[in-house]
């Protein structure tokens, strides 16, 4: 399922990044968000998600949360 449908504070294992967009997959990889790694939703805001990858917090928008499959 898409990460955007996930529950708060539950570690999910990344399955893939579903996008045509050049570069974003590699970028997420460099951050440590790639198949097999964990990602956790810390909070859902207006149209943004705050997620935890490795030891850092990131703010991502809904489109990206829809693209990350867990």
């Amino acid at each position: 399922m898409a990460l955007s449908k996930g529950k708060l504070n539950t570690p999910y294992v990344v399955n893939g990044v579903n996008t045509e967009h050049e570069g974003i997959r590699e970028f997420l990889f460099a951050l440590g968000c790639y198949p097999g790694e964990k990602v956790t939703i810390i909070s859902k805001l207006a149209s943004n998600y705050i997620i935890n990858i490795k030891d850092a917090r990131y703010s991502i928008d809904e489109d990206l949360a829809n693209a990350i499959m867990v």
């Binding site: 996008t19 045509e20 967009h21 790639y34 207006a46």
Partner: protein, 668 residues
């Protein structure tokens, strides 16, 4: 010996750079502050043997395969200029991600020294790192550093290790035998990257002990939930900006300005009595009214600006600014920009030039150019004296004037972005992802340093460009075309007046059709502070700030009377100056970031039109409300405004047709 600083965004490269070189480059607690490489020499105290050590601060990068153009700066520098040593700065609080980039750097054959930065923060959050093991596995020296601390910060040890590494002939050995530099196919490079992370992950499990799981909710997360809340986010941002303006323009700033303007007055009187009666009146006026008066009027606002920059530096340091980007992302997304665009705009509140340069972090070309075009709309430091002057003259020093100008700027930016998206017909979307820095207690010391460096730049500018401009303005208004001294009762015969009057006619529908205002608007393109200086010179008001209670000389009413325009016209003039094209230096920055003549001229035309239309509405509607009738020149102005709007609407329709022709919307 050339030493490069490389590491992830917001790991503290520039802070470390400043600490070892003694420079004062702009730092902020959010990723992407540095977009260009910067050079400096290592301080003597850290370099007792006087080695020739040049340090290059590079923009942050997450990997050697760049995603944004400032990451490209880093990669290109390391690959093409081959520094002698690389200091790889690693954020101790995020070891596993940082080491991914380290493994890539270690494969280049260049000696690496790892600086485990922010080690105080790691300790506080219960992270312990086994440095000897880490060093052994990475096959390079690892030094613990705290670059925000003055002593016992690990920096002398770091420099010693760098010198040793630079002098040894040994090539850097890679802990992992993979080739990062060879061109690989997509699948291959993905495989290689995976191996890298597997190595890093096992290394981290070996050397790092954590007490707290990073996924756990913290107080910071609770705070974020309120600060970036759907409905509360904007009011909180407004309150913060209002507070900053209250402190700088209504409380602390005026107190300091009192003292300061008193000194300028003393100087004026001192020089006046020194000159005595005999001196040539034209020369006397040039020195007193042109130079001391004009420059003094600008410098008088220095304390306000210093306090404002102090507050903004505290905000930047706290980590709040990254949250503002999240709050604004929702609105910016609707008009085809993203929260990324807010960062150049926040940087632009200091000065538009670095703000425009910061647009480099935006990948999408239309978004980047639109942001470069709209960033100068944010009131920069040079526009503050103009805001403070008009807030003082017409609105009695209220903090809401400055605050509302910021929010008006944001509103104008959003509307403009919408128009530009229509004109370009480019509806592409882009993903938004930004690392959230941790909140921290802002450092008073760093804010003070930042404040003084801004103040220094302001004083230098006032003493050079603004001084020259004021002197030229004074001369041009003292003589007529026959080079005769202008009679006291006929200032309109001066060269300046005759040059500016044709322009002033265009401003009649905006309420400020006086040659003095036209001249000030033009000198404003050289530097925005000139608006204040030129008004001071042409209206012969020596200072705009009273020593008593920070009211204007002889009370606001009087200066108001000298200016001879209404409050509505004053506000219109302020709006006109804020939303016309920025100073020439900023236009130059726009030119280099946009990389397109068409965009540059389009941007300048758009900015001029925006300034004119806004000023027209402010004056005409303001006059209608306050006086009950429309202002002067309404008919002619309406024709001009209708023409401007007509052109924009035509372009928007054309853009829409192009879009329909080119088919569906893509996600880029």
């Amino acid at each position: 010996m050339k030493v490069a600083l490389a590491g992830n965004p917001n790991c503290g490269k520039t802070t470390l750079f400043n600490a070892i070189t003694g420079k004062i480059e702009h730092v902020g607690n959010w990723p992407g502050v540095t977009v260009e490489k910067k050079e400096g020499k290592v301080k003597q105290s850290l370099n007792p043997n006087n080695e020739n050590l040049v340090v290059v601060d590079l923009p942050g990068a997450y990997s050697m395969s760049p995603y944004t153009s400032e990451e490209t700066v880093t990669k290109d520098f390391i690959q093409n200029e081959r520094p002698d040593v690389i200091i790889n700065i690693v954020d101790s609080t995020n070891l596993s991600r940082s080491l991914f980039f380290s493994t890539q750097l270690l494969e280049l054959g260049i000696p690496i020294v790892v600086a485990l930065n922010k080690s105080d923060l790691a300790e506080k959050s219960g992270i312990t790192i086994n440095v000897p093991v880490l060093s052994e596995k990475l096959k390079c020296p690892v030094i613990r550093t705290i670059s925000t601390k003055a002593t016992n910060n690990g920096l002398p040890e770091l420099i010693k290790a760098v010198i040793a590494a630079g002098k040894s002939d040994k090539k850097q050995e890679a802990p992992l035998k993979l080739s990062a530099t060879k061109a690989l196919s997509k699948e291959e490079s993905e495989k290689v990257d995976k191996k890298r992370y597997t190595f890093v992950n096992s290394l981290v499990t070996e050397v790092e002990r954590k007490k707290i799981s990073p996924e756990r909710q913290t107080i910071q997360d609770q705070a974020d939930r309120i600060i970036t809340h759907k409905w509360l986010g904007i009011p909180i941002f407004a309150a913060v900006i209002y507070l900053v303006f209250s402190i700088s323009q209504s409380w602390v700033g005026p107190l300091l300005a009192d003292v300061f303007v008193g000194w300028i007055d003393l100087l004026y009187e001192g020089v006046a009595s020194l000159l005595g009666e005999e001196v040539n009146p034209v020369l006397g006026a040039l020195l007193l009214d042109g130079i001391i008066g004009g420059v003094g009027a600008v410098i008088g606002f220095l304390p306000l600006i210093m306090v404002l920059f102090f507050c903004l530096a505290l905000l930047e340091d706290s980590g709040y600014m990254a949250r503002v980007a999240i709050v604004m992302d929702r609105f910016f997304k609707k008009v085809g920009l993203s929260g990324r665009s807010i960062i150049p705009m926040i940087v632009g509140t200091g000065c538009s030039i670095p703000g425009v340069m910061a647009t480099r972090t935006i990948k999408n070309a239309r978004q980047r150019r639109t942001t470069a075009m709209l960033t100068p709309f944010m009131p920069c430091g040079a526009k503050l004296p103009v805001i403070a002057l008009f807030a003082g003259v017409f609105f009695g020093e209220k903090a809401w004037v400055g605050t509302s100008m910021y929010f008006l700027a944001i509103l104008v930016i959003i509307i403009s972005a919408l128009i530009i998206r229509q004109i370009t017909g480019d509806y592409s979307k882009s993903y938004f992802i930004m690392e959230l820095p941790k909140y921290r207690v802002p450092s008073i010391k760093r804010a003070t340093i930042s404040m003084f460096s801004r103040a220094k730049a302001f004083i230098i500018k006032a003493g050079t460009i603004i001084l020259v401009c004021n002197a030229v303005i004074q001369i041009l208004q003292s003589f007529d075309w026959q080079f005769q001294v202008v009679a006291e009762n006929a200032p309109e015969t001066s060269i300046l007046a005759s040059l500016a009057t044709p322009l002033a006619i265009l401003f009649i529908p905006l309420g400020f059709g006086l040659w003095q205002f036209a001249a000030a608007a033009v000198t404003g393109f050289i530097a925005k502070e000139n608006v204040v200086g030129t008004l001071a010179v042409t209206f012969a008001v020596s200072n705009f700030i009273d020593t008593e209670e920070f009211a204007l000389v002889g009370g606001s009413a009087e200066v108001n009377a000298i200016f001879g325009i209404s409050a509505a016209a004053g506000l219109a003039y302020l709006v006109f100056n804020l939303f016309t094209p920025p100073c020439f230096a900023a236009i130059g920055a726009m030119n280099s970031e946009m990389e397109s003549r068409k965009w540059l001229f389009g941007a300048l035309g758009f900015q001029l039109g925006m300034g004119y239309v806004l000023a027209f509405f402010v004056y005409q509607i303001g006059t209608l409300i306050t006086v009950g009738t429309l202002g002067e020149g309404f008919g002619a102005g309406l024709v001009a405004v209708a023409a401007i709007i007509g052109i924009v609407v035509y372009l928007m329709r054309k853009g829409r047709r192009n879009k329909q022709a080119s088919g569906q919307i893509q996600t880029v």
